[in-house]
């Protein structure tokens, strides 16, 4: 309201003002699903944000678990304060049963592609 009053004071309308107003006059645009489209994009964005962190943790963890365990085993041989029983337990873990790093990468890529395709389809 205040803004409208200021506007009226600012503009003591002359011929150019009236012409400009008629030039710029336009009909209101019907929504036709526009707001629904925006809201679904917002919801998808929230969903992706919520999902991306856990996925990154799982993929990163799966990739890092084998080299990390080897690193811990190597360190335990170098430093006496790490108990031998702990290092022997780590060595006995069947890491060969884990999928290879390349498979994990392919799975992660597939997840990313799925997310991108679903986004494109919605767009």
């Amino acid at each position: 309201m205040k803004s409208k009053i200021i506007n009226m004071v600012e503009r003591l309308k002359d011929k150019e003002d009236r012409m400009l107003e008629s030039l710029f006059a336009s009909e209101s645009i019907a929504d036709n699903g526009f707001s629904q489209k925006v809201v679904s994009r917002v919801r998808r964005r929230i969903w992706i944000q919520r999902l991306s962190l856990p996925i990154a943790f799982v993929v990163g963890g799966a990739i890092a678990v084998k080299p990390l365990s080897q690193f811990v085993a190597a360190m335990s041989k170098m430093f006496v304060f790490i108990p031998q029983s702990f290092s022997s337990r780590i060595e006995s873990v069947p890491f060969d049963r884990l999928p290879p790093v390349s498979s994990i990468f392919i799975a992660a890529t597939l997840v990313m592609v799925f997310l991108l395709v679903s986004r494109l389809l919605e767009d």
Partner: protein, 183 residues
């Protein structure tokens, strides 16, 4: 949701990430934002894409809305920033404007790219610089005050006033208005 003021809806969006409240804000203001961008770009499809991006930026930045001015004033600022960012990224907008400008010069009149009809508005917009165009649209199409325009376009109020004055001079030259007076 329909009975709530804009500021109350904004509070809900900020405090609860309420997408329904945000949807109501979009529904209320989409027409003005799309109209602003359509006039700025002269291409409906491009403008509607930009309007969607604009609302997504608004979702991300809504916590920066202090509630001092009107929500639509703030939204128009976001829309103008989105337009400038997209223009920097893409040459599509430049091509559209060149097309409009070229047609205007060739015919002595102008057009909406969408319909291939040359309108007085296109003819007028073609003689304005980008900054003048934005200020004139915010003033005459969106009805913002000089202060709100200054805020949206990041310009001092004095500059806004002089741009509007220049715009009026140009419209007088373009449309040969003889007896004029300035308020």
């Amino acid at each position: 949701m329909h009975g709530l003021e804009d500021n109350e809806l904004v509070s809900r969006v900020i405090s609860q990430q309420d997408t329904a409240a945000f949807g109501e804000l979009v529904r209320r203001h989409q027409s003005q934002i799309r109209n602003f961008l359509r006039k700025l770009t002269r291409e409906h499809a491009l403008a509607d894409d930009l309007a969607q991006d604009c609302f997504l930026h608004a979702w991300d930045k809504i916590h920066t809305f202090t509630g001092k001015g009107s929500f639509i004033g703030w939204m128009l600022k976001v829309a103008y920033t989105t337009f400038l960012q997209s223009k920097r990224k893409s040459s599509r907008y430049g091509e559209v404007l060149e097309q409009v400008g070229g047609e205007s010069i060739a015919d002595g009149s102008s057009s909406t790219v969408e319909s291939d009809e040359i309108t007085d508005l296109d003819r007028f917009l073609a003689v304005l610089t980008e900054e003048e165009r934005a200020v004139m649209i915010l003033s005459y199409a969106c009805g913002l005050s000089h202060r709100e325009i200054g805020d949206a376009a990041k310009l001092p109020v004095g500059t806004v006033k002089s741009i509007i004055y220049r715009g009026k001079e140009k419209i007088r030259e373009s449309f040969e208005i003889e007896d004029h007076q300035y308020g």
